[in-house]
């Protein structure tokens, strides 16, 4: 009897352990490669750690002071925020436009959808190369085209402003297909009765979009806004192969700057402080959007 009870107890114990066992490989990896580095990063940010063989020394807020007083350091963060502010609405509305095109009864729709989506499958590194090859100064296809059309060649990626806007453009080119698919799913789930009712009420195309389509997309819009925003905040391989942060730091964004600071200049403490600030910005962006949506009753 006692034995049976014991084996029952051990059975219960084992049953309780089951989910933890199933979760353990993932949790181990998250713990080792996400949570621990995040904590280490916070610690490093208060030290003057310079990497291999160096003893980190506690220097308090010095890195953060440098971060906010050095125009170069803070410039990279500000530049990233500008990039998000400009690129996000463009990607957002462009992918919505593509999704709207694709829900029309088009001939050959699957092929069209596939070509819109295809750039998503190409790595950011190669996307950057593709566009550098085209926009490359003086000899690129773009300048050849301008020449043929009689417009005359222009300074492309050597011009800071042109390079910066090219990053906006290339990011949009490479990722619009992805968010388009998310918009499509949302568009297709809008009940057609809503449109019929609006039509009966005499709403024209634009009014139907404004009063039926756009409001119905609310949950999808929120998700796309957050995902795309986070993706632009951490832009890196694309600029690495496209502009390498140049010319004259015009396309130097936070992640590339963190990488350079840590691995080329061995200022791991300072780089970590930048990481902490970037994580804080991403969190404020994400949670802020969620909170705003909640207040408006969207989720």
């Amino acid at each position: 009897m006692a034995k049976k009870e014991q084996s029952f107890k051990s059975y219960i114990f084992r049953q309780k352990a089951v989910p933890y066992v199933f979760l353990s490989p993932n949790m181990l990896i998250f713990g080792l490669f996400i949570i621990t580095p995040a904590i280490m990063g916070v610690y490093f940010s208060f030290t003057n750690f310079r990497g291999l063989g160096d003893q980190p020394q506690w220097i308090g807020m010095q890195n953060y002071v440098n971060l906010f007083t050095d125009p170069d350091l803070f410039g990279a963060i500000l530049n990233t925020i500008y990039l998000v502010a400009v690129t996000l609405p463009i990607v957002f509305f462009f992918s919505l436009l593509l999704a709207i095109i694709l829900v029309q009864p088009l001939r050959g729709r699957p092929i069209i959808r596939a070509t819109y989506y295809w750039p998503v499958m190409i790595s950011f590194l190669v996307v950057g190369l593709i566009w550098r090859w085209i926009l490359r100064d003086s000899m690129g296809y773009f300048n050849g085209l301008l020449d043929t059309l009689g417009i005359g060649r222009i300074e492309t990626l050597l011009n800071p402003r042109f390079a910066w806007w090219s990053v906006v453009f290339v990011f949009t080119w490479s990722r619009a297909g992805y968010y388009m698919v998310m918009f499509m799913a949302a568009l297709l789930s809008i009940p057609s009765q809503l449109y019929e009712a609006a039509e009966i009420d005499g709403a024209n195309r634009w009014q139907r979009f404004l009063h039926v389509t756009y409001p119905s997309l609310r949950p999808a819009r929120l998700m796309i806004f957050i995902l795309a925003g986070m993706e632009i905040f951490k832009i890196y391989p694309l600029v690495e192969s496209f502009t390498r942060g140049g010319p004259n730091y015009a396309t130097e964004f936070a992640v590339r700057y963190i990488y350079e600071t840590a691995f080329s200049y061995r200022q791991i403490g300072l780089a970590s402080a930048m990481s902490v600030v970037m994580i804080a910005i991403v969190m404020i962006f994400t949670l802020g959007n969620l909170a705003l949506a909640k207040r408006r009753g969207a989720i």
Partner: protein
């Protein structure tokens, strides 16, 4: 009822964007088949005048480009990491979908919030950890850590919620072990979600740049992406080789895309699959 077709103008508009997305890629692929003089002529043409394989030969002849090793490493990493990802994400998804246990909500929140800690931003301490664990300059560093993806777990959880509990309960009453239930009930039923995780994981790992960058030092262990990045130096860029190797790097993605196009589109639509 006959379905109305979209107008001619809508079609033109749609085709305009087809060209917008397709032509840049085609131009690069065509350029890979151009001769040196054609690559750098004053006004470039879209198509090569004389098709040549010189740029591809260059990748093989020049010992500096370990093209074969890079391709092999990319395949090893993408396939191995995908296998690991499928196994561990299915296990976690199962635990979160079908068990009530202490801390389940917290674990779910932790998993979702790791999405806000992008690898790119914390790569400096990650590089330290990789060294501490002795994974530096091994392909393991590219296989194991990236396999745990919050999106994969979440997708699997959502999918497994739809499997009836009775199925699992009756197996349990029949005395099946938990691992057996997982293998013979959960895995076969989770096939669509497994397929989605597998093809996304393959794409992510194939296209990965940041993990190899912080974890690999020896050129013989580079992946294709890392090899490509070393070819485009700060001041000189070996365009002939770059165009050829970039073209090669897109081929597996094209094949995967042509076969699994539907899964990609559904995967994004349902969950916003995100590395």
């Amino acid at each position: 009822m006959k379905k109305k077709r979209a107008s001619f103008l809508t079609h033109i508009f749609a085709i305009f964007w087809v060209l917008f997305f397709l032509l840049p890629v085609l131009y690069v692929v065509f350029s890979a088949f151009k001769s040196r003089s054609e690559l750098f002529q004053h006004i470039p043409t879209f198509f090569p005048r004389d098709w040549t394989l010189d740029n591809f030969k260059r990748l093989i002849d020049n010992p500096y480009f370990m093209t074969y090793e890079w391709i092999r490493n990319s395949f090893i990493v993408a396939i191995a990491s995908t296998v690991v990802a499928v196994v561990i994400n299915t296990m976690s998804g199962y635990a979160l979908a079908k068990f009530r246990f202490k801390g389940d909500t917290i674990i779910l929140i932790v998993i979702l919030s790791t999405i806000m800690l992008p690898l790119e931003v914390i790569m400096v301490p990650i590089a330290r950890i990789i060294r501490t664990l002795g994974l530096y300059n091994t392909l393991w560093a590219l296989i194991i850590p990236p396999a745990a993806t919050p999106a994969g777990i979440f997708l699997m959880r959502q999918f497994l919620l739809t499997i009836p509990d009775d199925l699992i309960e009756s197996a349990r009453i029949d005395g099946a072990s938990e691992w057996r239930i997982f293998r013979s009930i959960i895995v076969p039923n989770a096939k669509p979600a497994i397929a989605t995780i597998a093809i996304f994981s393959f794409m992510w790992r194939w296209n990965d740049y940041v993990w190899p960058l912080i974890a690999i030092r020896s050129p013989s262990r580079y992946t294709l992406q890392l090899g490509i990045s070393t070819l485009s130096g700060e001041y000189t860029t070996d365009w002939a080789a770059l165009l050829a190797i970039s073209t090669i790097s897109m081929i597996p993605m094209l094949v995967v895309f042509l076969i699994f196009q539907r899964n990609f589109v559904q995967g994004v639509a349902e969950t916003g699959m995100k590395g």
